[in-house]
Symmetry: C2
Subunit: 479 residues, 2 copies
């Protein structure tokens, strides 16, 4: 775009403003005309495509089958599961007419597709031979939220929703945890994002679930972001929807269910965990453009143009590359590459065209190196991408661990939460106590971690009511 | 599924019934609860995924960038392009309330996203430097059709819609044709489907377009199916939406547009072009399952089980493979594989487990061959897949060419159309004459082919009004 680059508010000055500035300057979205919606421009949609492609590969290794259910849920169907959908009711976009004619039955745009999957399972499951059904859907959903924020909470968002039914409770429980592990590994391997894996407290779990597992990531302002969840539903839904199967003894049993999902919110996570005052930094594995090649005054020097094209042609065999051959000035081009978060840029000017060398500049550290343009370049760049990936991960990991503390004292807890820390406390799990903490501090129970991320005192009593408890819970302010 | 296989109505007896039977028995869809919607079960969605993945790769080679626009179009925006949307008006699903509260403005579920893309282009195009914008969206759309038919015409369907703007008319025209060629090549290379490429007559073109190009495929009942279209929009939309750019002389100009799309209708095309009385036949390149391995009485013979698993493990490295290790009888398993259209099945019984040989059965010809299970198997199967692909293509191609005829005589034209042929006639292009033909014969002008598919008399006069014309038009009954 020919537009001027605007100033990004420094991250330390105002994090929310920084976030919106980064998104705007990075050409990640435009705002949609419908309330709270966003247009995913090529850069943000490209990130989502790479997330989708790679995560889907992991799903398929687990035997997940993708399906596609209708967008619209008839009113009659939703009446069946009023309890589950109660939370969504105020957010349901409702189709009442077609072409100006009123419909005899209303339709809701899916806020989630549990009801549709469940109805399908009821109709398609007969015997243990039909199980498990391990289904997933990549789709758009609508929830008419009161306040919205790009990627983090939008009226319409993109996600995947996995829904499964099993003949065996243990198998279902195992899958629930497998999917959580897949999410955690994916965030580490592709988004350079460390997470804490754990179980939600009763107050924070999905109301339809027996257990909810979560991955929680720390943003640069210290807040927690729930980046993915996996629910063990036991027979909660299968009883409501009468999903039964004949077991090997020819007796009818209710099946066991799970569901799990991640959304385009992951793009927000990536921005808020890695971005800096120059804008977004995209980890190489999901970057739609991995390398920007910048011609330096190429319009005045045909040799520069020729060499830049040669470099582009060669690197395109291995990487996702774009060439900026416009006549804009070099400083603008460099800022433009940085603001779009491209992990690596290559500058080619008169000197480089002469010596057949190229200058590589990393987006994360801004380090420069000049190397010969020969076959070794593929290896050099792959190594650089690994370094960038690792550096982003290590920084995020260090920041996270540096900002998790533990205490047995409620006053200290309050103080640390106010400082923006994640605080691990021995906590009984009582819902009223949890609400009290939230009201006093604004922090919520993020999870009971599978593994304590820092060293903590194992045997203790609840910070709130003093009851003996072995349960350590992470509290933090969150998105 | 444990359900019994039902009989498929023979194709020659009742083509429409055959089509629905094939879809039902092949577990391709379930009907949705919302009127005219379908649930894409793993088999049909898997085909769509393979279409999407491979077609998208072709798009990206052309510099296409994927984006995602909101599902809902505000009423105020649609008022702008009433003319264009007039055709869609009776089909627009309308959101009037959220959570029981009436909205101050209505929203329409996109029947297509021209309006959204155009508004975006207006806001984002400033100078020639910003052009071209070559965008594409993979999305769901809703059109409340009166009569529906699985894949061919459904209330909700999946598609890709490409929308582009250019500084140069010639560049836009060229892209329009490039996209059509990509569609035609894709159908040939991936779906084993020959098509006729051509231009729509003024009566059949998209009303917003300057020229509409189409690919037309012949189904087994002789009807034509419009499988993809590409529109050169010239400045029609850019004038309505005021999409201008500053050219190199710093003068404002309207940009030039194109749009192009294919839909999940391609799945219907594939069924109706290749299927037989045993069910669907899926071309190997888009088959979600390429090989079914059937254990023959494996539950009574551990050696069979072991060998089948060994074969599966090895072949899974190269192909998409499923193993049927249930205790169902061999005849059922074979029919089950056939009815799901898997291009190749491998039967492994006691004899095979002993000799370490496997028996391969092609879905298209039902030919069997027994070969040694060694490293050469990868090559053998790849060759078989090529043969199957080519055989499906050649059969469809021969059928198409055998059923295209040409005449200069209107009485013969009517007779051939009644026989289910595609008929090429010299035709003036007059809209009233075209309507007359449709009313008399039920046939519509499918296209003015780029290349005549059969030998025809070049110089002639219009079959209807006798005026001199060099334009040869294909007429046929269509879906």
């Amino acid at each position: 775009m020919a537009k001027k680059l605007e100033k990004i508010t420094p991250l330390e000055e105002d994090f929310s403003k920084w976030y919106l500035d980064v998104i705007k300057n990075g050409d990640l979205i435009s705002y949609g005309k419908a309330r709270g919606t966003i247009i995913f421009k090529p850069l943000s949609y490209g990130i989502w495509e790479n997330i989708q492609k790679n995560l889907d590969t992991e799903f398929k290794k687990q035997g997940v089958k993708n399906v596609y259910f209708p967008l619209l849920i008839p009113d009659s169907l939703i009446q069946k599961e009023k309890d589950h959908l109660k939370g969504f009711n105020p957010e349901l976009a409702t189709v009442t007419e077609v072409g100006g004619r009123e419909l005899s039955e209303k339709y809701y745009i899916r806020p989630t597709s549990e009801v549709l999957f469940s109805t399908y399972f009821k109709d398609n499951v007969e015997s243990y031979n039909d199980l498990p059904l391990i289904y997933n859907q990549w789709a758009n959903v609508i929830r008419w939220e009161k306040t919205t924020n790009p990627f983090l909470r939008t009226t319409e968002f993109l996600w995947q929703e996995g829904h499964t039914v099993h003949a065996d409770a243990l198998e279902a429980r195992k899958l629930t945890k497998t999917m959580l592990r897949i999410y955690a590994n994916f965030l580490k391997k592709y988004l350079s994002l460390p997470v804490i894996q754990g179980k939600k407290t009763p107050r924070e779990k999905f109301s339809g679930a027996c257990s909810t597992y979560t991955i929680e990531a720390m943003m640069k302002d210290g807040r927690a972001l729930q980046a993915g969840t996996s629910h063990y539903l036991a027979q909660n839904f299968t009883k409501v929807f009468d999903i039964t199967f004949k077991n090997k003894e020819n007796k009818r049993e209710y099946a066991y269910g799970t569901s799990w999902g991640v959304t385009t919110r992951l793009i927000g996570a990536l921005i808020m965990a890695h971005g800096d005052d120059r804008g977004i930094i995209i980890p190489p594995k999901v970057a739609p453009v991995q390398i920007d090649i910048l011609e330096i005054f190429g319009h005045k020097n045909p040799e520069v143009k020729e060499f830049a094209l040669q470099v582009k042609k060669y690197l395109s065999k291995f990487f996702r590359v774009e060439l900026d051959s416009t006549d804009k000035n070099p400083g603008f081009k460099a800022s433009n590459s940085e603001i779009h978060g491209t992990p690596l840029r290559i500058e080619i000017g008169a000197k480089e065209a002469q010596t057949k060398e190229i200058t590589l500049i990393r987006r994360d550290t801004l380090e420069k190196q000049t190397i010969k343009f020969d076959k070794s370049i593929k290896l050099t760049i792959n190594k650089l991408f690994n370094d960038i990936h690792k550096n982003l991960y290590d920084q995020a990991q260090k920041r996270m661990l540096d900002n998790i503390v533990t205490t047995n004292d409620y006053q200290e807890f309050k103080q640390k939460i106010a400082e923006g820390k994640w605080v691990i406390i021995p906590f009984c799990g009582d819902e009223a106590a949890e609400e009290f903490i939230q009201q006093e501090t604004g922090a919520t129970a993020r999870c009971i971690p599978f593994k304590d991320p820092i060293k903590i005192n194992k045997k203790s009593s609840c910070v709130i009511d003093g009851t003996e408890t072995k349960r350590n819970v992470i509290f933090a302010k969150s998105y």
